[in-house]
């Protein structure tokens, strides 16, 4: 895990430093040579790359992600401080919504296999997978917010502002979960122990919730890591569309401004976040399913 993280930091650092030109190049405008010299010194950019690399690693250990170059007094840390809580709450709502609705949809579809509800659920799932989320977001804004005036269009504040972005963000993961749950559920329902449970005369609800669902949902846990990554990258798009002041917006702005310090800092932060999440998911899976042994090499 630490090696992966170090690798990312190194790749990011050297990629960013392989870009021709310095952050102080402004097209057309001639900057004073002394000013540039002073700025270079201020940011330590006049030192050899190897020294800069070590300095960057050193500051990373103390969790300092460096300054933003385009927005002078702002640092990457303060951007994360401001943006991350917003992104986190949006992401969590989307994830929880996707998990609950996805599992419910998948289960219902499996129980009514090949029925009307099943077809409906699967069509919905296909749409969720094939339609890019920026299209979903635009549709939601167009109809729910502008035409029907049910919810506010953009920005961030009350819970009403959260609904549309969270909805747009969750469609992809929701569809994936629903498909997976349905496939597993269909398989689990044909197992012998379900037959046994039915033979014992258990209520259908008990069978579904106590026997079938637990086993059907297990594989969903393995997907959680990928889903979190999906929501995270999705949030770049959604936050830009809904003008939400979250991490994703800073990241996208950083890309547009070619603010390398911000791109570097946020990439490292996102990577660390994702890697830790994946690690936690792996551990959680081992705890939930006793058949998985952690020390066994994964295939």
């Amino acid at each position: 895990m630490l090696i992966t993280l170090w690798l990312i930091v190194t790749i990011t650092f050297f990629l960013m430093h392989s870009v021709p030109g310095s952050p102080f190049d402004r097209d057309g405008k001639e900057a004073n040579a002394t000013v540039i010299q002073n700025m270079m010194e201020h940011y330590g950019l006049d030192k050899p790359v190897a020294v800069q690399y070590l300095m960057y690693l050193k500051s990373l250990v103390t969790l300092d992600l460096g300054p933003s170059i385009a927005h002078y007094p702002d640092s990457v840390n303060s951007m994360i401080d401001r943006g991350f809580p917003v992104s986190l709450s949006l992401g969590m709502i989307a994830l929880v919504f996707a998990i609950i609705c996805g599992i419910a949809l998948g289960t219902v579809a499996a129980l009514r296999q090949n029925g009307l509800l099943d077809s409906f659920a699967m069509i919905f799932a296909v749409i969720g997978i094939t339609v890019p989320n920026f299209v979903v977001a635009t549709m939601l804004i167009k109809y729910v917010a502008v035409e029907w005036k049910l919810l506010p269009v953009a920005t961030w504040g009350t819970w009403k502002h959260m609904i549309l972005p969270a909805l747009a963000l969750s469609t992809g993961p929701l569809a994936i979960i629903a498909r997976l749950t349905r496939a597993n559920m269909v398989e689990v329902l044909t197992q012998d122990y379900i037959e046994t449970a039915r033979a014992k005369g258990l209520a259908p609800a008990t069978i579904v919730f106590k026997h079938a669902l637990r086993n059907a949902v297990l594989p969903v846990v393995t997907l959680l890591g990928a889903l979190i990554a999906n929501i995270l990258t999705g949030s770049f798009v959604i936050e830009k569309i809904f003008a939400i002041p979250g991490m994703g917006k800073y990241f996208v702005d950083g890309i547009n401004n070619r603010d390398y310090a911000v791109i570097m800092g946020t990439t490292v932060f996102y990577s660390a976040l994702l890697i830790i999440m994946m690690f936690l998911v792996d551990i959680a899976y081992g705890l939930i399913d006793p058949r998985i042994k952690l020390h066994k090499k994964g295939a």
Partner: protein
């Protein structure tokens, strides 16, 4: 109850040779194709893909409109008999641009999948075949790379290399081969221990021969499934990058770029600017996914997801 002997009548011998196999022999691929043609959704997907490929190839001959010609007098026009899918804010014909975009989008998807395929097979094949220490080292590298969130790396590469057709393909395949390599390695590892490989090795076949003649053809089914799924994800990733402004640069257009350009116009009522590109992206995704699901059922019915 006793059955008297005279009730037993010997069954007359059937004409023809019972030992002969009546049905024509089917190769693995014939069987797979037969299986696939029975899957209606997969066939529909295949047909759509073929149609899209034809559109992309012959598209420019299907319309007399140019995809770059600007005509500000006819900007943002509704779909009509002249401009089938309407025009954009510079008066360019959306239908012509969609046809041209099909080329770019499909090209990106296919190239990215092809490069993944080649690198993945070589890397995974070597790692899986030799096993032991080689495998250990090669897979450790892949494990570390696998942990890196791929879209972040793609974005990073795009920022560094600058947007463009070639860089998109390079960036997408720089991260895409890893999944393929892992899968090929798993397959090879599994097939390696089968008897026919042992027999071949006993007869003195070289590793390259065994990999080429025995392991790859047998793993190919699963690999094809993976390729079918990696084409649409590349197209999807391109749309995502275009949204971030890191996609294809004008005057070239991909579906992703067009959809992104169409986003702000939806509120002013120019629905066709967003609808057509988004529709074609979704259609392509859908077609490849349906075909992929069908192939999945054909080649490894046990591993259905």
């Amino acid at each position: 109850m006793q059955v008297p002997d005279h009730l037993f009548v010997p069954m007359p011998k059937q004409a023809g040779n019972a030992e002969a196999i009546v049905r024509p022999r089917q190769t693995f691929w014939q069987a797979a194709w037969h299986n696939l043609t029975k899957n209606k959704l997969a066939m529909l997907g295949l047909i759509i893909i073929v149609l899209l490929a034809l559109l992309a190839t012959f598209g420019p001959y299907l319309t007399d409109q140019s995809y770059t010609k600007q005509d500000l007098l006819h900007a943002n026009e509704k779909p009509s008999s002249v401009h089938w899918f309407g025009t954009d804010e510079l008066g360019r014909d959306v239908y012509a641009r969609i046809l041209y975009g099909a080329r770019i989008s499909l090209f990106i998807g296919l190239m990215a999948a092809l490069i993944d395929f080649v690198i993945g097979i070589i890397y995974g094949g070597i790692s899986g075949y030799f096993g032991g220490r080689v495998d250990n080292v090669m897979m450790r590298i892949v494990d570390i790379l696998y942990g890196i969130p791929y879209l972040l790396v793609v974005i990073l590469l795009m920022v560094v290399m600058g947007p463009g057709l070639l860089t998109i393909i390079v960036a997408l395949s720089a991260t895409g081969w890893i999944g393929m390599a892992r899968m090929v390695r798993g397959q090879v590892l599994q097939l390696k221990s089968s008897e026919y490989v042992l027999a071949s090795r006993t007869l003195g076949a070289r590793p390259a021969h065994i990999i080429r003649r025995h392991l790859l053809p047998n793993a190919l089914g699963v690999i094809i499934v993976q390729v079918t799924f990696s084409v649409p994800s590349a197209i999807f990733a391109e749309a995502f990058l275009s949204f971030l402004g890191l996609g294809i640069q004008p005057p070239r257009a991909s579906w992703g770029v067009m959809a992104n350009d169409g986003l702000p116009t939806i509120l002013s009522g120019h629905w066709w600017r967003l609808f057509y590109p988004a529709f074609f992206i979704s259609l392509t995704m859908l077609a490849f996914n349906m075909l992929g699901d069908g192939l999945q059922n054909t080649f490894n019915p046990k591993q259905r997801r």
